[in-house]
């Protein structure tokens, strides 16, 4: 099998991964970054047919100059923490990568909560719709509703407006009062306030609703309208598409597979220098708790500097990162999901698309784990990437740990991977 060795392996080329790679490479380390997308930037800085956002440019330039090597289109499928080895898959097949240290910067996934009609064509994840649009799906002139929760909604809505879409509404489930208090707490963070003001300016004229969430998406072959409940009052809108996202959840599958412990909120537990409980494995950015770009950049720099053995720099970043983390926590509290959202699905609402599981089959079951066993919810090809975070919210508890492989492989590749793991185990036990 092809093998690549380096000092530091970074998984994910979003802001946290880029920062970690820069920090380590600039300190003389040989850095390899693995990323499943076609180019650097992650979900947030993804370029596609449009140029990457301006904020990304200096980072992307620094990344190119750092000497870190980027392998795009390269998805990690399995890891062996004891041997500091990850296996990845690219267009040519499987690849073994080994390093002194590993930084997990795997980002986040959008949280989809099921509601009647959410599986209709034209109902998309907020981030997913943006990604689709960046790769060429035309939004100009389309009437698009944006619903769910979190700062991503405003960002997506503003982006859609900029690209010529007609945004019908932005429906945020959190109450205005809670968000106003959060905004007030930003008084000492002028940059964040300025960002907020800029977003709101771009969205002038767009109805911004609070304590509002989708009740039903209507349409036969495609969504044509959506009904919202705003402060308990029904409200209908005609739309060509609906972008929904109920916030982000840390992407922890690889971390879990490597044996990294999670905290109570389901994020990877890290110390003040971004170390996980597994020796020489760091985590940075959203996997350690949703905190946004600046948080991710700081954590990435911190992890990279720490992995490169620069304790002094790490110490400096650690203080700034702690502040950023506090901001992340406050953000989480401000946009906390309300209880009523658990009532969104009705009996016929699909909760697991892979296995066609309807809510009436799952509603009465006690836990996420039992739901998985009894209904096969989460056992399909996506292995619960979409439905499990929703089920955690709807039912509480986690189904169980992820089973290998992290991404579908052919049985032939699975055997090849198992053979290579066996070889490596023999080599290293001698």
């Amino acid at each position: 099998m092809r093998e690549l060795a380096c000092d530091l392996l970074v998984v994910g080329a979003g802001p946290a991964g880029i920062a970690a790679a820069c920090a380590a490479a600039e300190r003389g380390k040989k850095v390899l970054v693995l990323d499943e997308n076609p180019g650097a930037g992650g979900q947030i800085w993804r370029a596609g047919t449009h140029a990457p956002p301006r904020a990304a440019e200096p980072w992307l330039a620094r990344f190119r100059a750092s000497g870190a090597e980027l392998r795009s289109g390269c998805a990690v499928v399995e890891g062996d923490a004891a041997r500091q080895t990850l296996w990845a898959q690219d267009a040519e097949g499987l690849l073994r990568t080994r390093a002194e240290s590993i930084v997990l910067a795997t980002g986040a996934r959008e949280l989809f909560l099921p509601f009647p009609g959410w599986t209709l064509p034209g109902v998309l994840g907020a981030g997913g719709l943006q990604a689709l649009a960046k790769s060429g799906w035309p939004v100009r002139g389309k009437k698009i509703g944006v619903a769910g929760s979190g700062p991503l909604l405003l960002a997506v809505a503003a982006w859609l407006v900029e690209h010529g879409a007609h945004v019908a509404f932005v429906a945020e489930q959190a109450p205005l009062g809670r968000l106003a208090r959060f905004a007030a707490s930003l008084a000492f963070q002028p940059r964040k306030l300025a960002q907020l003001a800029a977003l709101r300016w771009k969205l002038r004229g767009v109805p911004q609703l609070f304590s509002s969430w989708p009740v039903r998406a209507n349409g036969r072959a495609h969504i044509d309208s959506v009904e919202l409940a705003t402060d308990g009052e029904p409200q209908g809108f005609l739309v060509d598409a609906l972008a929904v996202g109920f916030g982000l959840v840390p992407e922890t599958a690889l971390a879990e597979q490597l044996g990294c412990a999670l905290d109570a909120s389901g994020a990877v537990a890290v110390d003040a220098e971004q170390r996980t409980n597994v020796e020489r494995i760091y985590a940075a950015g959203e996997p350690t708790g949703i905190g946004g770009v600046e948080n991710a950049l700081l954590q990435g720099e911190l992890a990279g500097a720490s992995a490169a053995g620069d304790a002094r720099a790490a110490h400096t970043f650690a203080r700034r990162a702690a502040r950023a983390r506090r901001f992340g926590r406050a953000l989480e509290r401000a946009f906390a999901l309300r209880e009523e959202l658990r009532e969104m699905p009705d009996d016929d609402t699909i909760v697991c698309r892979c296995e066609d599981v309807r809510w009436d089959a799952a509603r009465e079951l006690d836990s996420a784990r039992e739901t998985k066993l009894q209904t096969r919810c989460g056992m399909g090809p996506c292995q619960g990437r979409v439905c499990q975070p929703a089920l955690h919210f709807l039912k509480g508890g986690r189904a169980d740990r992820r089973r290998p492989p992290l991404l579908p492989l052919t049985l032939g590749e699975l055997a090849e991977l198992a053979a290579d793991r066996t070889t490596l185990e023999h080599e290293t036990s001698r």
Partner: protein, 373 residues
């Protein structure tokens, strides 16, 4: 008032016992440490199969299979019961001879079976390797989805289910819980798989049930890839290897087109992690029988633990002179034999004529085995 039966364990065997005892007029309480089907029932294939490892095994599996057959019209859709049939494939002349012997034996025992040669085998399952020279097809073997089958049997029993209870000790008429609480009943059935013997120790030796780890892989949907549960004839050889580890080709097409692939056997494994060396051996074995498997997308691999006894027969009967009753140690056949086990146990409890010779299943044989060395 109805007599009260306490059943420990809400896997497929405990669920079947609960249903049978309820039918016999007991008010049943099922005690479960985790949640229903949390153990081996969650991990296996759900192949309901006649197996002829021994005369006793064939009696138990054949009886059980016909009990499943009787239930077929009632089973809800989520159990996904299908009459897939089993194809026992032969790779060489020795195994082909075994096909013929098995065929003759099955016919004398009233188990439908038919012999296929190399040519007709190809038309039954085109993806099998062309050098496989024959097979025995057992058309009446079934496939079910075990966790839903167990849940259905539990619901059928009307039993009161108490989850999250850690049982420390089972006696003839009493169950002691962790923390000193006791539950009383008119009888107690231990159906806790590999966790059963510690509950009745020292009446039976603890090593009478050993966990035997197995690996499984499931693919994405590939409708039409295979029609039968396909097992290599060397499967029994693998099942018999007492020392070390073994693999055997065992494939099941799920009704939705997914393919479940096994099998492996290992004693003395403490970790439930997927082990690369075993996974590789198991997959290579499967590729030898069905080379085209290599191209199917695998979505998940996992492991489970079978509760195995030294003679590959479950422990069904009374522990000592007083009890409690035991229904455990079903190894890889718990789904198949759950119904026959429950039927036998219920007749032993009632003192009626058992459906087949109960002696080979008597748990007391463990004591004899222990004293012999």
């Amino acid at each position: 008032m109805k007599p009260r039966a306490l059943v420990i364990g809400a896997g497929i065997v405990g669920a079947a016992c609960a249903a049978e005892l309820a039918r016999a007029g007991f008010a049943v309480v099922v005690l479960e440490a985790a949640h229903p089907s949390a153990g081996a029932t969650a991990c296996g294939m759900g192949h309901v199969v006649a197996m002829d490892d021994s005369e006793a095994q064939l009696e138990l599996t054949r009886t059980s299979r016909s009990l499943w057959e009787e239930l077929l019209p009632e089973l809800p859709e989520n159990i996904e019961a299908t009459r897939a049939g089993t194809l026992w494939v032969a790779a060489d002349d020795e195994e082909l001879a075994a096909v013929h012997a098995k065929h003759a034996y099955y016919l004398t025992r009233g188990v439908n079976a038919e012999i296929h040669d190399q040519h007709s085998l190809r038309s039954l399952e085109p993806h099998l390797a062309p050098d496989l020279i024959g097979a025995l097809r057992v058309p009446d073997d079934l496939v079910v989805y075990p966790p839903c089958a167990a849940a259905w049997l539990l619901a059928l029993s009307g039993a009161e289910l108490r989850v999250g209870l850690a049982v420390e000790r089972a006696e003839a008429r009493r169950v002691l819980l962790h923390g000193g609480v006791a539950l009383e009943g008119d009888l107690v059935v231990v159906a806790a798989g590999e966790h059963s013997l510690p509950l009745v120790s020292p009446a039976l030796p603890l090593h009478g049930i050993k966990p035997r780890k197995g690996h499984l892989v499931i693919t994405d949907r590939a409708p039409g890839f295979a029609q039968h549960q396909i097992v290599e004839l060397g499967y029994l050889k693998s099942a018999h290897s007492h020392d070390g580890s073994s693999v055997a080709f065992n494939l099941q097409p799920r009704p939705n087109g997914q393919v479940l692939l096994g099998s492996s056997r290992q004693y003395d494994r403490t970790s439930d992690e997927v082990e690369p060396a075993m996974l590789r051996r198991m997959l290579e074995r499967a590729f030898r029988y069905m080379p085209k498997l290599r191209a199917l997308p695998a979505i998940r691999a996992w492991t489970g633990r079978r509760a195995a006894t030294h003679d590959h027969l479950p422990l069904i009967g009374k522990v000592g002179a007083e009890g409690p009753w035991l229904a455990a140690g079903h190894e890889g056949l718990g789904i198949t034999t759950s119904l026959g086990t429950a039927r036998l146990l219920s007749s032993l409890i009632a003192g009626t004529t058992p459906p087949f010779d109960p002696r080979p299943f008597d748990p007391q044989r463990l004591c004899a085995e222990a004293s012999h060395g």
